[in-house]
Structures are given as C-alpha cells and as structure tokens.
C-alpha cells in the first residue's frame, strides 16, 4: 500500500523531496529521545504549504498515518516515525516571509529555527521571547507543537503566549488559518502544544518583543540546595518576577565544569542564576533587593556586560550535554512541582537516588518549579538501565503527588503517554480526545502519541440511566 502512495507522492513533489533509500530513511529514525526508534516508511520534504496539504490528502485517501518532523530535537519521541507511514519533514520550509516591526510580528515557515527569528530582528532592538536551550536548531513548527518554553518563560511565558496565528493543514488536508483575532473558539490555543496530533503548522505568525532596556545577571553560590531554595522563595516573596531563576546542584556543576570549564565558585552545593530585565530604574531597584536576599550566598557574581553574562549562562546551557562527561548514559527527565514544594521534592529525589544507587544531577527552572533531573547510569552495568528507569519514573510520581505535572516543556510524545493516566482520569483524557475527534476522526495525524489509548470517535459517552437516587428517595426534585 505504501508503494502506491509513494508513487503518488513522487507525482506531486519535486524529485529530491521524496526519500525511499533505506540508508537515508534511517537518519530520521528517532528524535532527541534516541532510545525509541523506527524507520519511516517514506520521508517527504515538501517546499510549500500546498504540497503539505496534498501529501496529507493522499495519506488520508490511503488511510496511511503521517508524522510531522521539524529539526528532530524533541525529547519525548513526538517525531518518532511510523514504519507504516509518511514522515513529513519541514526542513525545506525555512523562509521568513514577513517582518513587521510596527505591529511586532513576524510570519515564518515552520522549518525556520527559533533563533533565526531573533537574529533577523535583534539589530532593530527586538527578539522572539521563548528561548528553549535548543534554539539554535529546533524549528518554530516543533516549538508550536510542543508549546516550548525556555529559561526566560518565568516572566515571558511559553510559545502559546507568543503565537498570533497559524496556518495549518488539517488532517483532512485542508489549509485553515487559526488566528487569535478571529471570533469563535480558541482553536489556536488548542492547537499549540498538541504535539502534531491535530494537523501540521505550515505558516506561523509570532509576536516579537521589544528588547529590555537593562539586563542584570547574577550568579549566587550557596552551600546547599536548601539555602538556594530559600533565596528563591524570598525573591518571589519580595514581589520580584525575574526574567529567569535557574538552579544547579553540585553534581550538575561538576559536570558543567568538566565539559565547558564554566568556572563556577568552588565548593558550591548549589548555584542560582537570576536574571533581571526591564526598564533600567526598575532593574536597579530590584537588584538592590536581590543583593540583600542573597546575603546568605558565599559568593555573588554580577555580570558586567554581555560577555560575562554569557560566561554565567554557559555552564547552565551546557548542562544536559555536560553530564555525558561524568556518566556514560543518562536520562533527561522533565517534571513540574509547585515551586514551594521544591525543597521537599529534591530531598525525596536524594532519597530515591541513594536507595537505588543511581546518581541524579539536578538542573532546574527554579522560578516555576520545572525540574530537569538528569538520571545517570552506566549502560554497561547489568540492570543499571532498569534502575535508572525506575528512579526516573518515581520522580514523575513525586511530581504528581505534589500536585505538579509529568512534563513542563518536553511534551508527552510516546515517552510519557503511559504516565498520562496517573495525572488525569479516564474522563479527563476522553474529553481531551474529543478535540482530537473533531480535528482528526480517522486518527492519522501522529497516532500513538500523547494519549495511551485512542478514543473511538463518533462513540457517544454513556449517560447515566434511571433516576438519581436522591430523586427516587424524594429528596430532590426532578426537572
């Protein structure tokens, strides 16, 4: 069946836009979560929205599933291909179509990288606010699908808060524009973060932000995580909303030191990176408050300029890759807890780590309680991988138990679909899937992601039969 479809695809796309060579197909077998792999049935590289729509229509007619892929940096297996399906890669759709500074917006194709937008407007004093650490390579289409965040989303919000409109190809193969200006349901809000399961974004209008007048970046070194945590609480308590508050523990610092020689203060149990930005006078006042709050730090560094700021961020930004220096293998976890629960949760992670003999390095967006524990193990050691999995899963349970979430920014994908029922009830999940049924009743757009069990569309949920007990007993009125 795929052969016929492949022939049809070749009929509507440029010659070099259909990949069937097994060696080349394999370069698309996974995203950033490399332990889920599948060789796609066929890969297409459309150049226009119309081509994407035509591909989707052919898939629909043939009943073949399709998966969108941007840069493949996703960390939850969202872009994991289907062996029986088509992988639609946006890497040939990289044009910035319009930059409109008076209206603070840019219109881009989905394959444009996150950083490319900022680079296009930086000289004029603007930038695109969401800044995932992968911003040099990840695509804006992937950002929309994952509702990606970044270090600065504490103050500025996530992708969904910065997207004004999306042209999408629906799973029916129609081109439709979802615009915040339109009356009616906020389908744009539902689409952003839907991980490629409601269609494919082919044109994205993002909001541009004015660069702040002043930026002050501070590195504070504390003896312990607890001390650092107290400082974070005090900052929030003082009514300050910094652009970013990041924290790293001793093991994460050790890794960063080994990888990029970031030269953080020796002997720190935790470092806190706090970035204040905004009008100069406001930043100045907040900085004075911050200095006082961080008086318990044994060292406080203040970046004097862009170069020193970059030096402070270097250790933090390299942290994921850096743990490769201190461990042969690792799992990047992503969970969220209410910020005030951080100290308790970190203590419990410590306990889990000791209990299973698995080291955990902690890097996190402390301001919004988004943890990125790096669960370290030696894949040559029998059973270590399983123990690491156990610890990693237990961390998610901790997040749920503390009223948090199983993912703050990396998405559910294939990786966490099985955890969804622990966070949401069957009714919650069924209700979410009503949206899926409206957009994609045939379930062809990135199937198997996000939800552990697909809902059969068209099935009407059961209504309680018979009279309510209170009515029967005469305690309530029937109307």
């Amino acid at each position: 069946m795929l052969d016929e479809l492949t022939a049809a695809l070749a009929g509507i796309l440029p010659a070099d836009s259909v990949i069937t060579d097994p060696v080349r197909l394999r370069t698309y077998e996974c995203d950033g979560l490399t332990y889920h792999r599948a060789t796609p049935g066929v890969v297409v590289l459309p150049e226009t929205a119309e081509q994407v729509a035509a591909v989707v229509r052919l898939c629909r007619e043939a009943g073949v599933p399709f998966v969108a892929r941007g840069s493949g940096t996703g960390l939850s297996g969202g872009a994991l291909p289907r062996e029986d399906g088509v992988l639609i890669v946006t890497s040939k759709m990289r044009r910035i179509l319009e930059i409109d500074l008076p209206d603070r917006r840019a219109v881009v194709e989905p394959g444009v990288t996150n950083l490319a937008i900022t680079e296009a407007v930086r000289d004029q004093g603007y930038y695109y606010a969401p800044d995932p650490s992968s911003q040099q390579i990840c695509s804006i289409g992937g950002n929309v699908a994952e509702n990606s965040g970044g270090a600065h989303c504490l103050k500025y919000g996530f992708t969904v808060n910065h997207v004004e409109a999306c042209e999408i190809v629906t799973p029916d193969g129609d081109l439709v524009t979802l615009d915040r200006m339109d009356p009616g349901y906020d389908l744009l809000g539902a689409f952003v973060g839907s991980e490629g399961t409601l269609g494919i974004a082919t044109k994205i209008t993002v909001r541009l932000s004015r660069a702040p007048e002043a930026v002050t970046t501070v590195l504070a070194a504390f003896e312990s995580i607890e001390r650092g945590g107290e400082a974070v609480s005090a900052i929030i308590g003082a009514g300050i909303v910094p652009a970013a508050i990041e924290m790293m523990d001793a093991l994460a610092i050790e890794a960063a030191e080994a990888a990029v020689a970031c030269d953080y203060p020796r002997g720190a149990g935790a470092v806190l990176i706090v970035e204040l930005d905004g009008p100069a006078q406001e930043v100045e006042r907040q900085f004075a408050q911050l200095r006082e709050i961080c008086s318990g730090a044994f060292e406080l560094r203040v970046a004097a300029g862009a170069e020193e700021r970059a030096a402070i961020w270097k250790g933090r930004k390299s942290a994921f890759a850096a743990v490769g220096r201190i461990s042969p293998a690792y799992i990047v976890q992503d969970g969220v807890v209410p910020r005030t629960a951080l100290p308790r949760v970190l203590a419990e992670i410590d306990r889990l780590s000791a209990e299973h003999g698995i080291r955990v390095a902690n890097v996190f967006h402390a301001g919004d309680g988004n943890l990125h524990p790096l669960v370290l193990f030696d894949d040559a050691e029998p059973g270590a991988g399983e123990r690491a999995e156990t610890v990693s899963g237990a961390i998610l349970d901790l997040c749920i138990a503390h009223g948090g979430s199983i993912t703050g920014e990396h998405g559910v994908g294939v990786d966490k679909a099985k955890h969804m029922p622990r966070m949401f009830s069957p009714d919650d999940l069924d209700t979410m899937q009503l949206v899926r049924c409206a957009f994609d009743p045939a379930g062809l757009s990135n199937p198997g992601k996000v939800f552990p069990t697909p809902r059969l569309c068209g099935e009407v949920p059961g209504v309680r039969k018979g009279a309510h007990p209170l009515v029967e007993s005469g305690k309530a009125e029937q109307f």
């Binding site: 615009d179 609480s233 006078q281 406001e282 907040q286 969220v336 920014e409």
Partner: protein, 402 residues
C-alpha cells in the same frame, strides 16, 4: 443544602435571557452538583444556559431553546491561594472583585482587568473579555493554567493543573475560554498570579482626531507606536473617544518599581500633546460604559489611523488599547434598528478593508450580522458536535450559530 440535592427555584424576571425565561433555575453548590444538574438535563433533553454574575447574559443572540438557567453564584469559594507559588484556584462563581480582594491581602493580583466588578471568574473566562493591561500580561487564556469543566452529559473533566508550566495533554482551558457557554460549564479555574505592582502612574493626554487638518495631522498612531516601542515598558496605552467625535483621550499606565520616573520619561516622549501624570486612573479606565449595542474591533496597531477614520462620525464611542489593537465600540444613543444595522454594516466593511475584525457582542437587533466571516467555522462546528452533540449548551448563542 447538599442533603436535599441540588437547589432549584422558579424563574423571576431577572432570569430572562433577552426576554426568554427558563423553566427552572438551578443553583448548584459544588462541581458534583453541576454535573448532577447536567446529567438530569441530558436525560430530559433540556437546554441550559450557565450564568455567573449575569453582567453579560444579554451578549450574543438568544438561545435556540432555553429550559434551565444554571446559576453558578453559589459556587463561590476561593479553593486555594498558594501565595508562594503565585497561583490561585477559584470556583466559577467567585466574583472578580472578591477574588481581587482575597489576593490583595497577600500582595498579589490576577492581572486581568474585568470591565464589570460583579463579573465572575467563570463569566470572565467564558466571554474572554480583555482589558487595558492585556498588552503586558496577555488575556484570560494566557493567565489560565488549569480548568475543571462539566460537559453537557455531566462528565467532569480537568485539564492543566495548578502549576504554571505544564504541557501534559490538550489545553481544554484555552478551548473553553471565550466559548460563551456553548461547550460546557467552566466550574473551576486555576490562574497564575502576579505581585501587585509597587506603584502605578497614569499619563493622561489629549490628542486631535483625524481630519482636523487645521490643527495638524492625527498623531495618535505615531504616539501609540512610540509608547509601545519604549523601553520604559508601559502596561497599557488606552484611547477613549466619546461618540467618535472631538478630541481623543489617551491614557498610559506605568506599573512597577520607579513608576513615577518612568511615567515622566514616557510623558516626555509624547512631545507637545497636552498631558498630566497622576496616581489615580482616569474616569472609565478599562470600563464598558454601555453595552446595549457593543462591538469589539481587533486590528493591527499600524492600522490605527484607518480604524479612527472609520469610527469618526459613525456615532459609536471607541475605547480600548491602541497598542494591542483591541477596542470596544459602544452606541450611546441608539438610533433604532435600521440605522444601527446600516452603521454596523458600514463599519465592518471599512474595518475589513483594513484587515481588521469587528464582532458585535451585544445588540437587541436580529438584523445585525454579529460575527462576519470566520474561516475556521467548519472546524469549530465539529468541536461543538463532539462536546455537545445534543445541542443543549447555550445553543445558537455563539459564532455561526454554534
């Protein structure tokens, strides 16, 4: 009252929706009771209109059918205010005023400007009205982090949660925000909060309208653009233009540390416009003054001059954000159905030509085209069919008869 099941009462004149009276008014006191009512309605195929403070009940067309008014006034608990997390969870019937009071006690706020203080959390979400500070903080959907909704069949579903950062599952909160009661009932909501600003200042200035050639060209757009681009970061830039005639009032809000100095800096940018800096909001700040006939205009800020031109002498009063491109049009002296229909049609034509959008939120007149063309309407219909296949939730009250 829980022991006796859900409280119901007979309707009174205040329960009418555009002249239509329900058969019953239900007063649930818990999410479970909301579900109980909706299950009963499903069983007997009764059509339901949910209501919060009742401030906007006359917005939108009348329902196609109307049996039960679901009054959420008794669902009025602030469930949890986690001040250290800058998060609040509140039931739908809590008024925005009461919520603001509770939050202010801890030095925090929900940075959503409600045009009516009696409006409830649920009603504010369901209508997605935006106020002046949306320029800085976004609108209701941007501050909402979790919801509990009850569907037409009584299913209780949650999405999001009580943490600010969370991408697990679809965001039903966004879908229900602005759905005008047509998808189900918003029973509870969680929001991200902000610290109350340390200080606030308003700059109030007067500018000339378009076409006053003898006094120089209209500089409103230029001023708004300068303010929006300023690194002194105003939270809002509002215009107020009574009757769409005479001088245009411009008010700029500056919030946070050093607000007074920043306001002076911004005032200086405004050149020779007549202006003053004050610590109190100007009259009718963020308000909706009259809403018998009310429309919302959305436009790109660079088209502001065109929008002002279109409104000039239209008889409508204009108020709203020059920098977010979102304004109210109010009709203070109703000239009757024919003239209103014609005026609105003319306005939509001119605004559409600018790439702007006009939605008529409230009007007593059936002849008015409320929504204009909506490109994603077929998808919206499918969403409605999935969530409310029996068309029992505020049927026909929303765009395209949803």
């Amino acid at each position: 009252m829980l022991e006796t099941g859900v409280t119901v009462r007979d309707p009174g004149p205040d329960d009418a929706v555009l002249g239509m009276l329900p058969r019953r008014v239900a007063l649930p006191e818990s999410v479970e009771e909301v579900a109980e009512v909706l299950r009963a309605c499903a069983r007997d195929d009764l059509a339901v209109v949910p209501v919060g403070g009742g401030t906007k009940l006359h917005w939108g067309p009348p329902p196609e059918r109307f049996d039960v008014l679901l009054d959420l006034c008794c669902l009025n608990r602030v469930v949890e205010h986690a001040a250290g997390d800058l998060v609040v969870r509140a039931q739908a019937g809590v008024t925005m005023g009461a919520l603001a009071g509770a939050l202010a006690a801890e030095g925090q706020e929900l940075a959503l400007d409600a045009p009516f203080p009696d409006a409830t959390v649920g009603g504010t979400l369901a209508t997605a009205v935006a106020g002046p500070r949306a320029f800085r903080y976004g609108t209701a959907r941007d501050l909402l982090i979790g919801v509990t909704v009850v569907l037409a069949d009584g299913t209780v579903a949650r999405s999001g949660g009580k943490v600010v950062k969370n991408v697990a599952g679809y965001d039903l909160g966004k879908l229900f925000t602005g759905s005008h009661g047509t998808l189900g009932v918003i029973a509870e909501a969680a929001f991200r909060l902000h610290p109350l600003p340390a200080d606030r200042r308003w700059i109030v200035a007067v500018a000339d309208p378009p076409g006053m050639a003898e006094r120089g060209p209209c500089r409103v757009r230029e001023l708004a653009a300068t303010l929006a681009a300023s690194q002194a970061e105003p939270s809002a830039v509002e215009l107020d233009w009574p009757h769409g005639q005479g001088p245009i009032w411009m008010s700029v809000l500056v919030e946070g540390a050093a607000a007074a100095q920043r306001a002076e800096a911004l005032a200086a940018l405004m050149g020779d416009a007549l202006r003053s800096v004050r610590a109190e909001p100007p009259p009718q700040w963020g308000a909706i003054v009259r809403d018998e006939v009310l429309a919302e205009v959305r436009f790109r800020p660079s088209r502001l001059t065109g929008v002002l031109d279109a409104v000039h002498y239209s008889g409508f009063s204009l108020r709203g954000s020059a920098v977010s491109g979102r304004m109210w049009l109010e009709l203070w002296d109703d000239p009757g159905e024919d003239k209103t229909v014609t005026a609105l049609r003319g306005l939509r034509e001119r605004l559409t030509a600018l790439g702007a959008r006009m939605t008529v939120l409230a009007t007593p007149y059936e002849g008015v085209d409320r929504w204009g063309e909506v490109s994603s309407l077929p998808l919206m219909r499918r969403v409605k069919e999935q969530f409310d296949p029996g068309r029992r939730m505020s049927p026909g009250r929303f765009a395209g008869g949803l």
